[in-house]
Symmetry: C2
Subunit: 525 residues, 2 copies
Amino acid sequence: MTLEGKQLIGQSAVAANGAAINAINPATGETLSPAYAAGGKAEVDQACELAWAAFGTYRETGLEARARFLETIADEIEAIGDALIERGVAESGLPQARLQGERGRTCGQLRLFASVVRAGEWLDVRIDPALPEREPMPRVDLRQRHIGLGPVAVFGASNFPLAFSVAGGDTASALAAGCPVVVKAHSAHPGTSELVGRAVQRAVAKCNLPEGVFSLIYGSGREVGQGLVRDARIKAVGFTGSRSGGTALMQAAQERPEPIPVYAEMSSINPVFLLPEALKSRAKELGDAFVGSLNMGAGQFCTNPGLVIAQQGEGLEAFLDAAGEAVKGAQAHTMLTPGIHEAYTQGVEGLTQSRHAREVARGPAGDGPNTCQVGLFVAKAADFLSDEALQAEVFGATSLVIECADQAEVARVAEHLEGQLTATLQMDDGDLDAARGLLPILERRAGRVMANGWPTGVEVCHAMVHGGPYPATSDSRTTSVGSAAIHRFLRPVCYQNLPQGLLPEALRDGNPEGVSRLVDGKREA
Amino acid sequence: MTLEGKQLIGQSAVAANGAAINAINPATGETLSPAYAAGGKAEVDQACELAWAAFGTYRETGLEARARFLETIADEIEAIGDALIERGVAESGLPQARLQGERGRTCGQLRLFASVVRAGEWLDVRIDPALPEREPMPRVDLRQRHIGLGPVAVFGASNFPLAFSVAGGDTASALAAGCPVVVKAHSAHPGTSELVGRAVQRAVAKCNLPEGVFSLIYGSGREVGQGLVRDARIKAVGFTGSRSGGTALMQAAQERPEPIPVYAEMSSINPVFLLPEALKSRAKELGDAFVGSLNMGAGQFCTNPGLVIAQQGEGLEAFLDAAGEAVKGAQAHTMLTPGIHEAYTQGVEGLTQSRHAREVARGPAGDGPNTCQVGLFVAKAADFLSDEALQAEVFGATSLVIECADQAEVARVAEHLEGQLTATLQMDDGDLDAARGLLPILERRAGRVMANGWPTGVEVCHAMVHGGPYPATSDSRTTSVGSAAIHRFLRPVCYQNLPQGLLPEALRDGNPEGVSRLVDGKREA
């Protein structure tokens, strides 16, 4: 399949005339063809017009039809075959196996949302039947369901060219909720985006859906990104990226005549707490495993363990020795883009220059142009508590270990943290009381709390929360990974005293769609 | 019981030293005692400090204990007896029967939330058990529940001195979610607020809860209101009031270092569509019933029918004749405050001066100082579509009828509307197709769509949606009335691989709390 370098607006491929966007192979520095001429106002307008026109039909697709559409997207992505993996490797510098896994996750989450759509719990159907005899006032018939918010703008993420880009988690959950999607492609992987975008286009056509259900635009954050968020026809935003990028979108969304929700997943340093008994029994093992998690994907995961917190002493010394040794042997992986590599280098430089952080070890430099030299630093808790710069995310495989005088100081550090996606406890049986003391703090600070694992590796399932208090995300009430993500793009509507013929199917007497309903406060299967 | 005029901070009654706040009896103009010295920074700080200290304990109260607390508040409010109704009448000008009904609703919704807490569906428990044998990667044990966001600032509403004030819907739903509440009393009914506030204080003490679970502060919107919203320990806001007030709080919440959700219920004109067959068969009946809804409570309901839309012709003429006659005989009720009366007078004056609106009828002037003279105006659809001023809410018993050339213009008017709390269809069997054409537009525009009723009268139940797109509310994804309101103050947390002893009860093996759980995507009772 030949890449054409065009905007995908509905079922059309449209040549725009903005500045050329070319992917760069970060492993070689090579510029990749084709060039994607950036879109602007006109393309945003066309895509939003089509999305708005499609919304009325698409949000009323039946559960089965909508589920099949999601499954068809997955089928079409798989049908691309090796070309998708090859292009993804070339544009991201990520290893082939990682992109194969990511493709599996992408298709898996589309199919998970298909099953969620079919089950229909997301409709949250509630029926309070009329009580004409009630005193002092009769009750009228009231029925509730959820409907899609409207067209959603999705921003492709640099670090997940498949699972959080064109047909990734935000797109899958928005489509599942009945919302058309306009994607702004990430400029780092335009070819991968085109391949996936065309797969979605084909699925739209095969399922006989209105073409505006999906569009894909290439362009700058300023013109296309801000343009989408400010367009009156866009009703919600899904974003994964930097804190500055996310907060700019939040502000633009609030400045609209009609403010809209922004789901931005932004910044997290994912603290790992090494509790005393765990450190005593397995410091070396922890040090090795920690560096494995830290350097996975060149540390370019939102859940990368960027902060380790422990009480000083022999156990922590042993951990630092082991981790330092592991860092010295850690391969320097290629980073996603020259820009990300540059920002990483500056972030590490900031730690090197900090009068509060001390270098424990650096990994070997890499061979290629944009490799990530692993870094490990250490600082005193008192300095961490007073120096906000130490809490800034360094996107990449560098982490900071905080030495605390005692468990009380560990708790103070926990309490001082900004909102996080994850918080991790490394604990043995003897650490149960210490863990119990930290847990209430961590629950307030993070969307996911784990024991004896590492934060990298996010399962796509029903119980997952990939979210958390600001600045981890813009909205702690939701998750961007897992089936609960569908709720981000829904709102409730109540129907009072409507004739059966006007009611949506899910609300009609006899429950023709067979969905779970809360009737007079009682759950019906 | 003697009113003391003090701030209720936790279990204390504290004398503040700001400007005196006195209620005014709007029916007589009389200034009521005692004076409430306004609180400021110090009182906000104390209340937030206590609320924050209480949060950890309060959010982990068991389902039964929390439910009993809500029921105890209801019991304590009822135990105040007639004194509450008398003071409410004096401070609001509302009739005794209305306040008795409102007390019933207030206590009823506290008890509804108690039943919701006990049922435990709000926890949204999801369990994805470990799959150690899964290929290519095992799955770890993942469990999700919802926890309270943190302390909530609630703003008492002028138009519901009981049901949307100190222990009203926002307070009940926040307490149900496990969030301590700091209420800013509405300055129009400080005595009513004190009586209810002391009832909540007693309930806190009787239930042995930490005192910071509830505080009540009197003061200005600028000092106390903005002070609360900007306090780092406040994590969400509930507000019912004007559009300018609500948007100011939204902005303050966004400007915080950590932005927080604001649930502001602000402005709605609640369009009523009179469809042709209904107009043909029962124009006079509709005109009478409409004015009854319009003038209920002097038109001071958020769901007051401020806009009527119909196709011109004999039916509409007959409706206008009947409604005009009814207006001429409509009693002028006392409004809530001199300020609201003044704003109403200005709003009506605006319609009188508008070159697009024509007066159909005015009701008789009232006897007292702050009475609401009912008003009915009419305008052409073309003018309504071009003149945004005609869409502004006039808070009180005045409504505007829009004459459309045909049903296509009716649809254009519907499409032109801002977000609304409600939209109403008056329809006969022959109007089914016309209604079917409007319904998709109204679903996008309103939180509640009804047939053959009037928007005033909001049932507190499971299926109710008292919400809607901006500017009806700041957040269309929720409701402020009904049991689903609890979800506004919750966020999900995922627990990965935690030992049983660390897990919250609702997530433990064996389901000790007996709540509904989604296990591996399947609903367990």
